[in-house]
């Protein structure tokens, strides 16, 4: 997936704002390019997990549909650990087939972003080109 520097920075900024809790949000895309970042509320309000607020899921889904875009990625942060999918993330990903997972790691103060494909429990790193 390709993403502009501005959208990339928006995700990182959201992660920093929500720390020490995890942040979460959705990325709309068209033809493999991120078009919009939708920060959402972490209903779990937790440093260990995230739960995209159901009302916001519906709202964002409707907006993505109305704009004739597709859901390209889910992003969230790991404020204490490396930006690799946890087992919780892998389990959660079963509900979002075909969607990339962008994780913003803030464990050492510096933001480290990694992107993952999680398909049927199989995790592989994916490309996120910041342009």
């Amino acid at each position: 997936m390709r993403i502009s520097r501005a959208l990339f920075n928006a995700m990182v900024a959201h992660a920093r704002e929500e720390a020490p809790n995890e942040c979460c949000g959705m990325v709309a895309a068209r033809d493999g390019e991120a078009v919009e970042v939708y920060p959402t509320t972490n209903a779990a309000a937790s440093p260990l997990r995230f739960e995209i607020d159901p009302d916001e899921q519906i709202r964002v889904h409707s907006e993505i549909e109305a704009a004739e875009l597709e859901l390209g990625a889910i992003y969230h942060s790991h404020t204490r650990t490396e930006p690799r999918p946890s087992q919780t993330d892998i389990n959660f990903a079963a509900w979002w087939p075909g969607v990339l997972w962008i994780i913003v790691g803030l464990a050492n103060g510096e933001a480290t972003v990694q992107t993952w494909s999680i398909d049927n429990g199989q995790v592989s790193e994916a490309q996120l080109d910041v342009e």
Binding site: A43, A44, E51, P54, Q57, I58, A94, W95
Partner: protein, 208 residues
């Protein structure tokens, strides 16, 4: 009848007409109770149980869509239609999953890897005679999708009447409306040119 037993009289009246709250207990401490909890009626389902049940049906719907699409019996156009509807069913499941986790209730297990015979057994339990194991043409494939959408409608219909959290009831109504739209489109797809088959009903109740 003596006038000294108002509670008993009210019991009898409510029992006769089957409506209304009841006053029970001693006269010094009357309590209003839900009549559905009285006289051996099934205990009220909790919101968690109701959302769990609707999500379980959503997972069944998803599994059926996946099998129907994989059967290869749908035309290209109807395959695209089914793909889109499947994506919406997944959104429903994700939202319900979030609601369940918020309620502290574990999600029902996915049926993605269930055998066709297991799915057929579940369909039978929902009064759906169509078989996921024996889809021989597009008409049968669409008929199965129509029936499973009716099952979903029925699950939300059941839940909406019982959920105590109005927000969850609204959520169920939103999804039930979507399922009804799906059924209408599928009916038109199965009976092209016969729009009368696809005319939405005035009051959606569903199956189950």
């Amino acid at each position: 009848m003596s006038g000294s037993h108002p509670v008993t009289r009210r019991h009898a009246l409510a029992r006769a007409i089957g409506v209304g709250g009841l006053v029970v207990g001693g006269s010094a401490a009357p309590q209003l109770v839900d009549p559905s909890r009285s006289w051996g009626a099934a205990p009220a389902e909790t919101d968690g149980q109701l959302v769990y049940a609707t999500m379980a049906v959503e997972l069944l719907v998803i599994a059926i869509y996946e099998r129907v699409i994989a059967s290869g019996k749908l035309s290209a156009a109807h395959g695209v239609l089914a793909d889109r509807m499947l994506s919406y069913e997944r959104v429903h499941a994700r939202v319900l999953g979030s609601e369940l986790r918020t309620l502290g209730v574990a999600e029902p297990p996915s049926l993605g890897h269930a055998s066709s015979s297991s799915l057929d057994a579940i369909l039978v339990s929902k009064q759906v005679p169509e078989s996921v194991a024996q889809i021989s043409n597009e008409s049968e494939a669409l008929a199965l999708l129509i029936k499973i959408e009716e099952v979903a409608e029925g699950a939300y219909y059941h839940a909406i009447a019982r959920l105590t959290d109005s927000r969850l009831a609204l959520r169920s109504a939103q999804i039930m409306a979507a399922e009804a739209q799906h059924r209408t489109i599928l009916s038109e797809a199965r009976n092209p040119g016969h729009i009368d088959f696809a005319v939405p009903v005035a009051f959606v109740q569903g199956r189950g």
